[in-house]
């Protein structure tokens, strides 16, 4: 079942929308024009947008309106872009945030 709400009892139906394709990490995904990165990925069943920089535990959207920065991703090489505030563009390359080296920490990991 599609996660998209094409028909809504009060808000009505979504009309024909232009399809776009974009990359998230190594995969290609489809989005509709007007969808945020967070929305398009959620519709495709992708909830993890990065891992915690130090602990490596998964993170996704939290506030969805730009306040919390939990959904920060890399877009076309630019870091700390909010997936909830950024519309998908054709051919966009989105990358999840990854673990950062913690070489000075006891038991930490190296790059």
């Amino acid at each position: 079942m599609s996660q998209r709400i094409d028909h809504h009892p009060v808000l009505g139906s979504l009309g024909d929308r232009k399809q776009l394709s974009f990359h998230y990490n190594d995969s290609v995904y489809m989005a509709y024009e007007g969808e945020t990165i967070a929305g398009a990925l959620l519709a495709a069943g992708v909830r993890t947008l990065r891992v915690h920089e130090e602990k490596g535990t998964p993170r996704g959207i939290y506030c969805n309106i730009g306040h919390c920065y939990e959904c920060r991703v890399h877009v076309d090489g630019i870091p700390t872009v909010r997936a909830c505030m950024t519309l998908v563009q054709e051919g966009m390359q989105v990358n999840a945030g990854s673990l950062l080296p913690t070489p000075l920490k006891k038991g930490g990991h190296h790059a």
């Binding site: 996660q3 709400i5 809504h8 009892p9 967070a38 929305g39 959620l42 915690h52 309106i65 730009g66």
Partner: protein, 401 residues
């Protein structure tokens, strides 16, 4: 050259833009979201008269009106600093510096975070996040989930999730901690719920809410409260159940819950894990006021308005020269109040710019805020009027009436 910069393209900011542009001011509105409307976007509820309040339509109407009056609306622009200059403000934005004589901050509110163990798992989000994903992005946040935190906003949005085909398994309380405060205590939550009971479709709840106005009746209701709770729109609301932990490995798989005593403390031996593929946390709203603080505005702490609010008078003027505020930054209320306040701010700013020849519309608009507040469908707090009066008194020490 613009006369007025408005930060925030929500109901207050757009209404202010319209009111001031009608008086001949050149106005620019900036907002960091990708489309105008602020938190009007996604609002959807049935009014007691049976009409639907559709925030998307309201946002479109305000945006079109503002544009037709020549207002420039710049989306995707974040403001991160403000400095006073000799003749106004220098506003630092992600699109560079903007210099402007008069400034209106209409940044709205943010959701208070209520930490619950496991809340960083993907699939856990704020209740407002679910609203935007559902009604604006039109993507389901899951199939069946749990809402932690029972308040006016979370009940309204749970109904919106249901309309979109998403099942809310139940609504329960957050763990009772110093952070969650009274939101984890069944009695306090029951009292706040009674103020929205008139929105419930069930006659039983409407009648019940009238019966339970007295405090001892509420205590009795909690004591006798059925373990299954009650339902609004068939969504179970369980005031005697608390969330202990959100569980899952790579994403949400369920919630560990327990029954609680009337004071919110968990009852031994009642723990269980219920399955869920999403969780929404509802901590209530607070004014989003950092920019007013950066601007040097004095504040008041007023719990009935949602927390710290910048001082301002009835004309939405702050004690800081050339700085105005409107909307939820001044206190948590409905979008209709924010719109009425925005109109006041727009006219007040036009007056400051020497463009308001007749002051009657301004005093009418100030009166209109009070009328809208009185008739608001959703009362966020019973002591709003007293809170507003306190802010007015404190501001009078700074600004002569």
């Amino acid at each position: 050259m613009i006369d007025l910069l408005i930060i925030g393209a929500g109901p207050a900011g757009l209404s202010a833009a319209i009111a001031s542009a009608r008086q001949g001011l050149a106005v620019r509105v900036v907002d960091e979201f990708y489309r105008p409307g602020g938190r009007l976007l996604g609002q959807l509820h049935e009014e007691p008269d049976g009409m639907w309040w559709n925030g998307l339509d309201e946002a479109a109407r305000l945006t079109e009106t503002a544009k037709s009056l020549g207002v420039e609306i710049c989306c995707g622009v974040s403001v991160f600093h403000l400095t006073q200059s000799q003749n106004g403000w220098v506003v630092s934005t992600t699109q560079g510096e903007m210099t402007v004589p008069l400034l209106l901050i209409a940044t709205g509110a943010s959701e208070a975070a209520v930490p619950v163990p496991g809340w960083t798992l993907p699939g856990v989000m704020s209740i407002g996040a679910a609203q935007v994903m559902t009604n604006v992005q039109r993507v389901r946040v899951g199939q069946r989930g749990v809402v932690i935190g029972v308040n006016i906003l979370s009940v309204a949005i749970s109904r919106e999730l249901q309309l979109a085909g998403v099942t809310v398994d139940r609504m329960i309380l957050p763990p009772s901690t110093t952070v969650s405060g009274t939101a984890g205590q069944p009695e306090a939550v029951m009292q706040s719920l009674l103020r929205v009971a008139h929105l419930a479709p069930s006659l039983m709840i409407r009648i019940g809410s009238k019966l339970m106005r007295s405090p001892w009746m509420q205590k009795l209701a909690i004591a006798l409260y059925p373990s299954k709770g009650f339902s609004m729109w068939d969504i179970p609301i369980q005031l005697r159940t608390t969330a202990l932990e959100i569980v899952g490995t790579s994403q949400v798989e369920g919630v560990r819950i327990a029954r609680v005593a009337a004071d919110g403390s968990p009852i031994d031996g009642t723990e269980q894990v219920i399955p869920a593929d999403f969780v929404c946390i509802a901590g209530g709203l607070s004014p989003l006021a950092e920019l007013a603080a950066i601007a040097g505005c004095p504040f008041a702490y007023v719990p009935s308005l949602g927390g710290h609010v910048p001082l301002h008078n009835e004309s939405m003027r702050t004690p800081v020269p050339r700085l105005y505020v409107a909307g939820n930054i001044t206190g948590i209320e409905s979008a209709k109040v924010a719109m009425a306040q925005g109109t006041v701010a727009g006219l007040s700013i036009a007056k400051a710019r020497g463009k308001l020849t007749n002051e009657q519309p301004l005093s009418d608009a100030i009166q209109q805020v009070k009328i809208v507040r009185q008739h608001a469908t959703i009362q966020f707090h019973p002591d709003i009027v007293a809170g507003r009066a306190l802010v007015g008194q404190m501001t009078a020490e700074w600004i002569a009436p």
